[in-house]
């Protein structure tokens, strides 16, 4: 997995609440488009007009946010479907960090599986960041995961395990496989305790 240590990049404001993973990537794209091409269809309903032309009102179609690698979002960002393609699609347009007051939980977990840093911050802080992101003069943020600071001043916290995975580019499966003996022992005891669970 790609490591995440420090990122200095343009942040785009996407303030609306409850942006769901269907809006981030449509199911037919999930089923038909290879992982590395999903970026083309990220936010399809918002980025493009019905005739296929770019929607000039959508923030990611405008300078400097066209180059954004950070999104400052509203409540419950990434709610809905578990589709990890939503994270792949965001990564496909260069997004490495999403900041919101709250996230759809499955989406939040999926971010960390893909080297994307998801940061929860109180609503007033995200509103302040959103205001900064809205002005091209202040839209460039530095996100430092090592020190857990945005622009050197705004502190954030991510789960220690998630932080370590991103900083070191660790593979979750590899970490768990190292615990095989524990899993085997647990399962052996469980087979005696709850035999009906095992067909």
């Amino acid at each position: 997995m790609e490591r995440f240590t420090t990122l200095t990049a343009v942040a785009a404001p996407l303030a609306q609440a409850n942006v769901d993973t269907d809006v981030i990537i449509r199911v037919e794209r999930c089923a038909q488009v290879p992982k590395h091409e999903l970026g083309r269809y990220a936010f399809e309903a918002l980025r493009f007009l019905p005739d296929g032309a770019g929607n000039p009102d959508f923030v990611l179609n405008r300078e400097p946010w066209r180059r954004a690698q950070i999104l400052v979002c509203g409540d419950n960002f990434g709610c809905g479907s578990s589709r990890e393609m939503a994270v792949w699609a965001l990564a496909g347009i260069g997004i490495r960090c999403v900041i919101a007051p709250s996230f759809g939980e499955i989406f939040h977990g999926n971010c960390f599986q893909n080297g994307v840093l998801a940061i929860r911050l109180p609503r007033e802080t995200t509103l302040r960041l959103s205001a900064l992101a809205s002005d091209p003069g202040t839209a460039t943020f530095t996100v430092d995961l090592e020190r857990q600071k945005i622009n050197g001043e705004i502190a954030f916290e991510v789960d220690p395990l998630h932080r370590r995975m991103l900083l070191e580019g660790l593979d979750a499966i590899g970490l768990t496989l190292a615990r095989e003996a524990e899993i085997a022992a647990w399962q052996a005891a469980d087979r005696a305790r709850r035999p009906w669970v095992y067909p």
Partner: protein, 454 residues
């Protein structure tokens, strides 16, 4: 110490504490489907790994298979996904309930129906509506593609322990008000993020009175509340419902299981991080007006002056009654509302008239099991006689993955779970409602109050 239902089931599955609130949990049942199952197994193989417990892993095609009556009509690109699921499950020794198998259906319909999901089990699937399984007193939650591969390789999942939320439903719902209305009302009350970070437990006399299928509808919409997990304590209704199901324990094993299952209910005095109450007696049938399940009102209510973008997308004007809004389609199906009791209620409404001539109405049973049972009761004939299309089992128009879509700007009353922008097709307008309300709307050709159909 008093513990909640959730605490008991979670603690039972803890293999290791990973620090910082993260735990490694054992997975009792892993369900795979056609949208990602084949790919995940392929990736596992590519990494030189094997499915650790193929006997705890089960697969079925549901998301992308066509549901055209008789013919199926699965498209070529979708057939490739189904073929990959076939090849990979065969290679890995994973049981597949394939198209044509009497057990095929929507994963969250068949897992309980086959007795795979049992009280106190931990169930995961690469689909957010896995929370449906909580109706049996299990912990069920959706996971992403990477986590699917992790579970295949290790039979465990890394999770942060959530907070707990208890929603009490008291009072008896009036005629025409169903489980779907109860849960939509709760989402309307606390919002689509109201259960964020929580495992929900649904309790109270209103929940006790629900049959298992109603409880599944309740738990199914937990994720629309922001809660990844939703549960109902198992009781005699649960135990009776499970008896004799294909994978449910029998004989002496069932007796042992029953003793354990009876210990699972939340202890008196167990503490929840948040509690909410809903008075079922005060509820009217619910219908959504916007593009989030929280945008919900009573069917005899007025479209609120909120969320202008959502109103524009939905083509609705604030301040007008929602009833009387002309519709184009009705969809009765999905892991929310496609079970036998849902179809019985819808059929009892369908008996009272004919689908309006400008409306296309579909009934998509949730599984082959449901389809056969409904046909034995003659429900298919009732639907067909009223002008509904009786289709094959699958996710169909809920997820819109096989070209089974609502046309741009067409309006659909749907028993599914998501009214998101573009969910049922680009620019499609979805109104979520119960099967009773959906069937009544099909006959009326507009959004209507099922209670008026005497």
């Amino acid at each position: 110490m008093s513990r909640t239902l959730f605490d008991k089931v979670w603690d039972e599955h803890a293999v290791a504490d990973l620090g910082g609130g993260m735990q490694l949990l054992h997975v009792d049942r892993h369900l795979l489907h056609d949208l990602g199952g084949g790919k995940a197994l392929e990736e596992l193989r590519g990494r030189g790994l094997k499915v650790r417990n193929p006997e705890l892993t089960f697969a079925t095609p549901d998301h992308v298979v066509g549901t055209e009556p008789g013919a199926r009509g699965t498209r070529d690109w979708a057939l490739k996904l189904v073929d990959s699921l076939r090849t990979e499950t065969r290679r890995a020794g994973v049981t597949l309930f394939d198209v044509g198998d009497e057990a095929q259906g929507i994963v969250h319909v068949i897992a309980p129906e086959l007795g795979l999901t049992q009280p106190g089990t931990l169930v995961v699937c690469g689909d957010s509506h896995t929370c449906t399984n909580g109706a049996l007193g299990a912990i069920g939650f959706g996971i992403g593609s990477s986590e699917v591969v992790h579970v295949l390789a290790t039979q465990t999942i890394v999770q942060k322990r959530p907070k707990t939320l208890r929603a009490r439903f008291d009072g008896a719902p009036a005629r025409g008000v169903h489980a779907k209305d109860m849960i939509l009302a709760l989402i309307g009350r606390i919002g689509a993020a109201g259960g964020n970070g929580c495992a929900a437990e649904y309790a109270g006399a209103g929940v006790r009175a629900l049959d298992m299928e109603g409880r599944m509808t309740l738990c199914n919409l937990s994720i629309e509340l922001g809660a990844k997990i939703g549960m109902v304590a198992p009781d005699e209704t649960t135990f009776a419902w499970l008896e004799g199901r294909r994978f449910a324990p029998r004989g002496a094993l069932r007796e042992r299981a029953l003793a354990y299952w009876r210990s699972l209910a939340s202890d008196p005095g167990a503490r929840f991080d948040r509690e909410v109450e809903v008075d079922c007696a005060a509820l009217a049938p619910q219908v959504t007006w916007g593009t989030s399940p929280e945008d919900v009102i009573a069917v005899d209510g007025v479209v609120p002056a909120a969320k202008p973008d959502a109103l524009a997308y939905m083509g609705l004007a604030a301040g007008r009654p929602i009833a009387g809004t002309r519709i184009d389609r009705v969809f009765i199906g999905s892991c929310t509302n496609s079970r036998l009791s849902d179809l019985r209620v819808a059929a009892s409404v369908a008996r009272k008239g004919k689908v309006a001539s400008h409306v296309t109405a579909w009934v998509v049973p949730g599984s082959m099991g449901v389809k056969r049972a409904a046909e034995r009761e003659g429900l298919d004939e009732v639907f067909r006689a009223a002008g509904f299309e009786w289709r094959e089992p699958g996710c169909s128009m809920c997820v819109g993955a096989n070209g089974e879509l609502v046309e741009p700007e067409a309006r659909c009353v749907s028993t599914s779970n998501r009214n998101f922008v573009g969910r049922q097709g680009p620019r499609a307008r979805t109104h979520l409602a119960s099967p009773a309300t959906a069937a009544a709307c099909a006959l009326a050709g507009e959004i209507t109050d099922v209670r008026a159909l005497a």
